[in-house]
């Protein structure tokens, strides 16, 4: 089938054109060694074109400088599924003509079959210039079309052109690699600048000074410059930046938590109903406590992740995220990171899985690996239920100011720990991360724009989907394994259900999980807790939030109580005693657990995606041991310090 690739620089209207041309069936394209990223589709039926359409991420030239550029450019040359494109549609911004023609020049040099689409003609008109597309076509020796993407002007001509290409063009071209010589690049630019002067003409006919007009053309957007004079101003800029980030986090939290509670109760209710209707046997137990509970623990984070990616998408689409990256580049580069680490780090608060994939945009290998290394330290949404339970024990009144302050301190601690870890690993030169590469930060600060919400929604949907498909199956599998460990061998014997109401306690006490827990008790007793918490901690290595449901199992929460699960769990935690009669949960042991959960590397999906993205088990294994052991020792130290100072 005829294959058409859309290729263009960032911010050139490429994705908007893709959305215009494509039909309903858009699917993500997978690459060997990479996951999502870009889309393929068939043409919208109304155009009657029988061809594949592939959208590619924005690039500046055909010479890559980062992993995502390498993948993109290899995909343009020869796509593993669709092969070399029969036609490349390239979009260029009319007001950025010389900069964007560099890519067109590369595509010509590589001998691709190219058609050029000129977008953003309205912006050029505002600068009192217009472009002669016939002249440009003549200069480049390529077909050129002007398209107004907001009003669809010019799209019919493009469709007609594509149709004739699909029907008549069977020529297979020989595609070349292009020259990487830096010296010839300047000459290329000079040639392009000459072309620009030939094809652009001022619309004001009474203009006396053409040179002056061209200088005006090369001035950035006035409004953006005014906004930047405040937002990029050293101290004020940083202050506004931190304020914006704090508001982002607070709003994600307050928007998501009611929906999360709703989802949580819905799954708890369906588990209960299954047991209520079909009674207790191994199958209903598997269904209710294994499968549905596992599905619920995946679903419960969707609102949080979706909302964070929505806000992040809005920040990106307005153009502010690029400014944020610039503002934090210097401090981050001091500890071996990069301004471009910033967006992945913010995503890390939702879920490490999409965040690790987002680190691909960092051109420097070392900085990229270091960013990936520290991302699991940023408190992801899976830790929230754990924190809320533990804070609920410390501060009994929910939603109080003290609880809020503790939660904020936990987040602050998680940020500090990630920065300290980056600093230490960076200082260790090549002991932890062996790769060396020259550090660079070159980023276009796009014109401020009103975000295109359908774009933002679509991207947030994709990131959320990558969490569901990336982390979901592993969480599900481990939920079932976990259920089996707490169910067998006692659960097979059906008589256990008839004997008493608290059979769940009996199940656990006679399960494999309790054998493991009791065996490991010496390891958790320095934390001031007993084997039951040990079991809950072990299960949390499948996914952190599993800790809460395991705690509910271990401390025999009876769902038939009038209180919520959380309340009755907290009640039972207050009463829980160790074998020597002392309390399991004290201020010190709870704080110890919080410290452990901030630092420990407890997520199988994160380890799996890190292996995939870094290409070896080295980094995930190091992460696992370094973080988990540091978490353990810091937790033990905290517990003993608090006990030493005599806080009950």
């Amino acid at each position: 089938m005829f294959t058409i690739s859309l290729v263009g620089p960032p911010n050139s209207g490429k994705t908007t054109l893709f959305n215009k041309l494509s039909g309903q069936k858009i699917k993500t394209v997978n690459y060997p060694g990479a996951t999502v990223d870009y889309f393929s589709a068939d043409f919208d039926k109304k155009y009657e074109i029988n061809a594949h359409l592939i959208d590619t991420p924005g690039i500046i030239s055909l010479i890559p400088t980062s992993i995502d550029e390498i993948i993109t450019i290899e995909g343009i040359y020869s796509h593993p599924e669709f092969g070399t494109p029969d036609l490349i549609i390239t979009t260029i911004d009319a007001s950025q003509l010389s900069r964007h023609l560099i890519l067109v020049n590369d595509l010509i040099e590589a001998n691709f079959n190219v058609v050029v689409i000129i977008t953003m003609n309205d912006i050029l008109a505002r600068k009192n210039f217009s472009i002669d597309e016939n002249k440009l076509s003549e200069e480049l020796n390529l077909p050129v079309f002007k398209i107004d993407l907001t009003k669809d002007n010019g799209i019919d001509e493009l469709i007609h052109f594509i149709k004739t290409e699909v029907e008549n063009n069977f020529e297979k071209r020989v595609i070349n690699k292009i020259s990487e010589d830096t010296f010839t690049l300047v000459n290329k630019y000079n040639r392009i600048s000459e072309i620009e002067k030939k094809v652009l003409f001022p619309t004001k006919t009474n203009s006396k000074n053409i040179t002056k007009d061209f200088n005006n053309l090369h001035k950035p957007d006035e409004i953006s410059l005014k906004i930047d004079s405040v937002l990029l101003n050293g101290t004020w800029g940083l202050l506004i930046f931190f304020l914006a980030m704090s508001v982002t986090f607070a709003s994600v939290f307050w928007l998501a938590s009611p929906i999360m509670d709703l989802i949580d109760s819905a799954f708890a209710l369906s588990s209960e109903s299954i047991l209520g209707i079909w009674g207790n046997n191994w199958f209903t137990q598997l269904l209710a406590n294994g499968l549905i509970a596992g599905f619920g623990s995946v679903a419960v984070f969707i609102p949080q992740i979706l909302i964070l990616f929505l806000i992040l998408g809005i920040l990106e689409d307005t153009g502010y995220l690029a400014r944020g990256a610039m503002l934090v580049d210097k401090p981050l580069s001091k500890i071996g990171l990069n301004g471009r680490s910033f967006a992945p780090m913010v995503s890390g608060f939702a879920c490490a899985v999409p965040a690790i994939m987002a680190a691909r945009t960092i051109p420097n290998k070392r900085e990229r690996l270091l960013t990936i290394f520290i991302l699991p330290l940023l408190s992801c949404s899976a830790r929230i239920p754990v924190y809320l339970l533990l804070i609920g024990f410390l501060v009994p009144t929910t939603g109080s100011l003290t609880a809020g302050i503790i939660l904020a301190s936990i987040y602050l601690l998680s940020i500090i720990s990630s920065l300290v870890a980056a600093g230490i690993i960076n200082k260790l030169k090549n002991k932890v991360i062996t790769e060396q590469d020259h550090s660079s930060f070159i980023l276009e600060l796009p014109t401020y724009k009103i975000p295109r919400l359908n774009n933002v929604f679509f991207n947030a949907y994709l990131s959320t989907k990558s969490y569901i498909t990336g982390a979901g199956p592993i969480i599900m599998i481990f939920s079932v394994i976990l259920w089996a460990l707490t169910f067998f061998p006692a659960g097979i014997d059906n008589s256990i259900y008839n004997e008493n109401d608290s059979f769940e306690q009996e199940l656990i006490e006679n399960s494999y999980a309790s054998n493991i827990g009791k065996f490991l008790e010496p390891a958790v007793s320095p934390l001031g807790v007993d084997w039951r918490v040990g079991v809950a901690i072990i299960t949390s290595f499948a996914a952190r939030e599993v800790f809460v449901s395991s705690m509910a199992l271990m401390f025999q929460v009876n769902i038939s109580d009038e209180d919520s699960i959380q309340k009755s769990l907290l009640k039972n935690m207050q009463k829980a005693k160790k074998s020597d009669g002392t309390k399991v949960f004290t201020t010190s042991s709870i704080i110890g657990l919080i410290v452990f959960f901030i630092i420990a590397m407890q997520c199988v999906s994160t380890l799996a995606i890190t292996k995939k993205e870094t290409g070896s088990w080295r980094i995930p294994i190091l992460q696992f041991f370094i973080y988990t052991f540091s978490a353990y020792f810091l937790a033990v130290i905290s517990v003993n310090l608090i006990n030493f100072f005599g806080i009950a």
């Binding site: 900069r99 830096t182 000079n190 950035p220 550090s439 930060f441």
Partner: protein
């Protein structure tokens, strides 16, 4: 005349590019994004400690590190 580079420009200051230090490891990307001899640049903003620096170039704004700006020789 002493050779000046773009990292020495003050906020709001304008100048013309004379050349690029090809030995700088980022030279290729710096040129690709539009910093070529003959172009006018202007400092739009500077982050903390004057690093990175945002320049207006060819009708857009591009932020680059101070060390990268020092490879751009100006009038």
């Amino acid at each position: 005349m002493k050779v000046r580079n773009a990292s020495q420009l003050l906020n709001g200051e304008q100048s013309e590019i004379l050349g690029i230090d090809y030995n700088h490891p980022s030279a290729r990307r710096i040129i690709e994004v539009g910093f070529t001899p003959g172009e006018e640049i202007k400092v739009i903003g500077k982050s903390l400690f004057d690093d990175p620096i945002a320049f207006s170039i060819r009708g857009t704004v591009i932020a680059i590190r101070k060390s990268e700006a020092s490879s751009i020789i100006i009038r």
